[in-house]
């Protein structure tokens, strides 16, 4: 088992995922991983090594073929679809490579949506939305729709949305994959700032070499397996 430390918020046990393509493809052969609360983890490896598959399984976006995931003591295998949805709503924030903001909503509405979904009052949600947008430097674009924002701006809004319900874990899949180096660095700085400020756990999938400097722990993957982990002790930022 590869562990980042002994205060786990997230634990994956013998995690594997096979996709029924042709004779079947094992995108993730086996992953044992324990991630501590407040850790900043970078998952890295060559393209097709199973990083995204692992992240999807850790976030409950997909069901494993074998193994299980435990978040805050709750096993995913014990949850039905709506239980998993509830967990995602409250405990997990997602940032995607392609931003995935809802096109019909403004930046503020995109950020506000997860809060409204957990029943936060309108005024309270609006106040927190303003704070989050300010924190990611997007308050001046609150009323803009995604089409009116640049890629970097959209990703900032996506980060704010992921943090909306103050989740224990933020999972980001190639969050800088569509950004230039300046915006990439800014997004990573943002992650690190929130990680330091709020103690939220960040798991970021990226194959960009320079981002290892931000991480406390770097998980290396190859051919669907975790091949090692570097404990870097604090990282940049």
């Amino acid at each position: 088992m590869v562990e980042t430390n002994d205060r786990p918020i997230l634990r994956a046990t013998r995690l594997a995922r096979r996709f029924p393509v042709g004779e079947g493809v094992w995108a993730l052969k086996r992953a044992d991983l324990t991630i501590a609360r407040g850790a900043f983890v970078l998952v890295t490896g060559p393209s097709g090594c199973g990083k995204t598959t692992l992240l999807n399984l850790l976030g409950g976006l997909d069901r494993p073929t074998r193994g299980d995931v435990e978040v805050g003591g709750v096993l995913f295998s014990k949850l039905n679809e709506s239980g998993l949805a509830r967990l995602r709503r409250r405990e997990i924030g997602f940032v995607f490579q392609f931003f995935n903001l809802l096109a019909d909503l403004t930046a503020a509405e995109n950020v506000e949506l997860p809060m409204r979904m957990v029943g936060l009052r309108k005024a309270e949600a609006a106040k927190r939305t303003t704070e989050l947008l300010e924190a990611v430097g997007m308050s001046h674009r609150a009323r803009h729709t995604p089409f009116e924002l640049s890629g970097g701006e959209q990703q900032r809004v996506a980060v704010a949305r992921a943090l909306a319900n103050q989740p224990s874990i933020v999972l980001a899949d190639e969050p800088t994959g569509n950004l230039d180096s300046k915006n990439s660095a800014e997004i990573m700085e943002l992650f690190k700032r929130f990680n330091r400020g709020t103690g939220q756990t960040f798991v970021i999938v990226s194959h960009a070499p320079g981002f290892a400097d931000y991480a406390d722990h770097v998980v290396h993957m190859k051919d669907g397996e975790i091949t090692g982990i570097d404990h870097r002790g604090g990282g940049r930022g």
Binding site: N56, L61, D62, S82, A85, F96, P114
Partner: protein, 498 residues
Amino acid sequence: MGLVFVKMAVRNVARNWNRTGLMIAGMAVAAAMMTVTTALSAGYAEGAAVEWRQLVGADILVYADLYAYAGDGEESGSWQWRSLPADFVGDAVLFRPDLERGYLSPSPAGPDTFGAGDFLSVLDDIPGVADVQPARLLPAYVAVGGPGAGSRRIPVVLRGRSIAGDLSARPLPDVPDGRYFNPSDDGRPVALVNRHGPVPANALSDGRLLIEVPTAAGWSSDGLPVLDHSRTLAIELEVLGRFSLSLGPRVIVNLAQGAGPETEARPMRKEVYIDVPEVWVPAATFDLIYEDALGRPLERASQLCLNLESMFLAKDIAQSLAEVLPGRTVVTVPQEVAASGIQYVPYRTGDPPVVVVRRVYYPGTAVTMDIKAELSGAAFGVAGLLVVANMYVLVTQRRREIGVLKAVGAASRDIVLLILVEAVGYSLVGAGLGFLAVRLVTFLPLLGSATSLVEGTALTVRAGLLVVGLTTGVSLLFGVLPALDAARTSVVTLLGDQ
């Protein structure tokens, strides 16, 4: 949390104009098709009923040169007929003085309409016409099982009958209860029903008959009512007796005719007449019912009734009228409605021969009903498919959005709710517009007529609710399936589709 998605759905409908416009247009086309279909359906159904009723009313001159009348009893689902012996045919009026009436129906008012005075002057030149009076006719329904939607309704003709010729009642020798209609004509709600017509015995309760008469939706510029068959006035009539008049649509049947049991039956083609489903009431009673149901006294009839001195004259009178009234179609009952098919089995051979009529097809009715079923079914099917396609497009276009919503914590039921609320929004607006577009075209002529706009609007609202309700119902039904499919698909698949 559901409210969040309801609001989101409303917001989506309001903001995404491209999608909203396309969806609404699709729904509008479907609703327009449904509107036309339902209008045609109603029209054909009513048209078929009207056609049936017209057999005893407008533009028809009743005459008989060969009679059949009811037999000794009834078999379930059958009407029995026995032709009169050949030697009585030529003198039928002696036996059937109730046949002394013929009915002539000039066409509704038009450019070549003549006045009643002119008409009478024409008749002066034609011997044998005893009396002319406005026809007291109303389509009606016998309500079997009580009034209202739950009852079975049998279309009948409510005929107000002048009893001037009936005062001297005489029993028919062959028909035990066949006394002539001789009620007091003081407006009592009494009736005589056709003994062998389609009014079933169980429609009579303690000697009373419940009928429903349509109300007036408006009035034509000719002073004739536009009838609303969906709103009826229920009237209970005391049934004084059942008559056995056998006049009505002419059909061709094969009579198994023979001289006696020993004689081999020889099939022959003969013309006989089928009962019309009539309920007779005194003329004064009819006038009261007419005024109650339609809100106006009978001022103008759509046809006139001619009382003939003898039914032998009917055919000649019809011919004479056709000659002196060019442009008029004067026909005898009912040349227009020669039966397209009839099934029979010989009841018994002998003299007089008897046939049991199993089933009668009225060509016009059959055709319109067929058209109704096929056209309505096809158009409704296409409209339904259009709605289904709209819903499918609505969902499949938005798999990424659904995936994102699920990723941030939306449950499957939230996704379904979101899609269904949007579907309802599109359906209500689209179907409303489609319905209004069609109805506006049909409504415009009413502006130039004397028909009450208030009543017309009420009818439109009811039809609109039907069409919009149907469209929305189909949307919901077929929106649930793709919505459920999308909601149950994993986030990875939904986002991976991009």
